[in-house]
Assembly symmetry: C2
């Protein structure tokens, strides 16, 4: 008797649960330290000490009625929104005000809020494979139609020719995710400029507005001094979705924000719609204590060097084994070419060595597997001999 739309999703999610249970089963047999679970994007670097300090200060120094109360606006505390805007302006030379910020229940909450605000049934939402599989569900929540651009497996930058061809008068939004899950690739400034030019030309051609939604939970997780372009500066109709899940290691606390700049078409209406959507989707407001916490920790960042060491070690180790992989510049994922076409068979083979990986099909990019290296360094060091054994089956 559950909703028809949910039936398929429940079946799919059973597959993910099955993998999770497989991990638990293996841990039960071999011990957790002998299971190499690269399947989950759950950061294992602790939140900065400043987060704890901020919570203590807030509890000692605030009126609990205000600290834990509904915010006057569903978009969040006015002072928090101001602080976020100012911090963005300082870092990126933008000119946002508090009104341009909507505090959200993580980036996932933010994406749902903006899609609810924008999408009419049948509107098209373009995504670039490989992409975070949840975009499909989020788009479906509002009866939008997901349009995939096939992957460029040489660079994992967006295929711009295909992008240009697939924009139609029904294209309402384009979602980009850079640094990217699952590849770790950062879209270059040149890519962004070309994308912006394509969208501007298409907007003119069709007389439509095409909103670029930049999903940025990994913005702060970059290596080798790479710059991640701030997209509102390249394309007027840009909305940014951000999360503190990775930058402050607070994924369970569900705290992030949307930026809806003045330059966006119908900005005021869109901000009002986002405010209402936050309420009626049942978020009501982003968790209040965590709103105040992040406002106190705007200059804090999780320990990137930890992930960087994992990245270098795992990347070098896998290359040594003979695996092919683009070196990630950001996030905490490696997207490895499966040595056989059917990457699900490769994932199955990995399980013999207690190695858990996610098939690229989950990201609309079969033939590859995703390894999340937000694990302990020991897990990586101990997994590498197992990868070597696994590699011997193929090379």
């Amino acid at each position: 008797m559950i909703a028809k739309k949910m039936k398929h999703m429940v079946a799919n999610s059973s597959a993910i649960r099955a993998m999770f249970e497989e991990g638990n089963r293996l841990a039960g047999i071999y011990g957790a330290e002998n299971v190499f679970d690269f399947s989950l994007g759950n950061p294992n670097v602790p939140a900065p000490e400043a987060v704890k300090k901020a919570i203590f200060e807030l509890l000692e120094g605030s009126d609990p009625v205000v600290l834990h109360g509904y915010t006057n606006s569903n978009s969040g505390y006015a002072d928090v929104r101001e602080a976020v805007a100012t911090s963005l302006n300082d870092r990126f030379g933008t000119s946002f005000e508090g009104k341009n910020i909507v505090m959200t229940v993580g980036a996932a909450g933010g994406l749902n809020v903006i899609l609810k605000s924008l999408i009419n049934p049948g509107d098209e939402v373009i995504v670039f494979a490989p992409y975070f599989g949840e975009y499909r569900s989020y788009t479906s929540n509002y009866d939008g139609v997901l349009v995939e651009i096939s992957p460029d497996t040489d660079t994992f930058q967006p295929k711009l020719n295909e992008f240009e061809q697939k924009i139609t008068p029904k294209t309402k939004a384009v979602i980009v995710n850079t640094p990217n899950n699952p590849t770790g690739v950062v879209y270059s400034e040149e890519t962004i400029q070309k994308m912006a030019a394509i969208m501007e030309a298409k907007q003119k051609e069709y007389g439509t507005e095409i909103y670029l939604i930049s999903d940025e939970p990994y913005r702060e997780l970059v290596y080798d001094g790479v710059e991640v372009p701030y997209l509102t500066k390249y394309y007027a109709n840009t909305v940014v979705g951000y999360s503190y899940s990775k930058s402050l290691s607070l994924p369970g606390e569900r705290i992030g924000y949307l930026v809806i700049p003045d330059e966006v078409a119908d900005s005021e209406d869109l901000r009002s719609a986002a405010n209402v959507a936050t309420r009626i989707l049942g978020f009501v407001n982003a968790p209040t204590l965590q709103q105040k916490v992040v406002a106190k920790c705007l200059n804090e960042k999780t320990d990137i060097s930890y992930y960087d060491r994992n990245r270098e070690t795992l990347y070098a180790g896998l290359r040594d084994c003979g695996f092919e992989c683009i070196k990630p510049e950001g996030a905490f994922y490696l997207f490895v070419k499966s040595p056989v076409e059917d990457e699900k068979a490769f994932c199955e083979a990995g399980k013999k060595y207690n190695i858990l990986m996610v098939p690229g099909s989950s990201f609309a990019c079969p033939g590859y597997v995703r390894l999340a290296y937000c694990v302990s360094y020991e897990t990586i060091v101990n997994a590498l001999p197992k990868f070597k054994e696994l590699a011997k089956e193929y090379f």
Copy 2:
């Protein structure tokens, strides 16, 4: 360019914002202490001291990677779900297990999760006027059709004859809210038994399943020793939505749960669907720190005597003025009969005395106004002479 469905909602929400801004405007002119804002259901009794203590203990004694991390299941921490189930069993003689509990982003999040899990486009959801206006939006989110039962203004118990007539083969869910917002009425055990019998008979007649959704944010806020029946014991297809917003004064923190008992039709599928819905609606999981906090505060409760004094004082004072009102047994609202048919005109008249009230039309019950008495005692004491002046315009 915002979504068509949102346009009407944005317009409506401007009216609420207008009232909020009116309150600020009046406070600016007359001083906040001279504005009698009874429009908001934001508790002003602080969270119990145990909440603060729990947060300190958790921050000192937990691994932050776990405390702030994603939960393994989107339905929440296994130990928290077990603790909630045990606490319910102890209090209500039920026999829930952890698997029957889904931790949610407040009751609003929980209602969206269960409606997403259940409703196909065109399915009917029955509500009893007066009802919390958000039920309309939540139902619309999933393209359900809201079916209203007209109010019984003598008792504000559900009109059962009309209920029976309006159940159709398309009826998928019935939402009840007891203690009730906006009336403060608690549905009697007799009412619940009759409702259950009607739904059971209709299920048989149509060969359908009709889910009773009990929205219970006010369960703990009852006076004069009144008992609130636990609905799963009266009707098998009952799902409970709970929130700690009022019982622990944590409305901004967004923490609550759903109970999906084994007795519910397709219980396992529905629990899986709720787990998936929690993820794909963008909640991902209920805020993790607050999950752990409420598990440590299951026997704590906000200071009800504070609300009770407000209730007695405001109720007696308004009756003295000549206003008609049913005495509430729960929640923190009085639902007062407007002395003129057009209650919006009455609300306007109240503003002359800096009294802010919500028109009953917002709850599908025109001719009445809602006063939220979760304000300071002083506000009530100081407002009563103003109500006396207001009353003189009518009586």
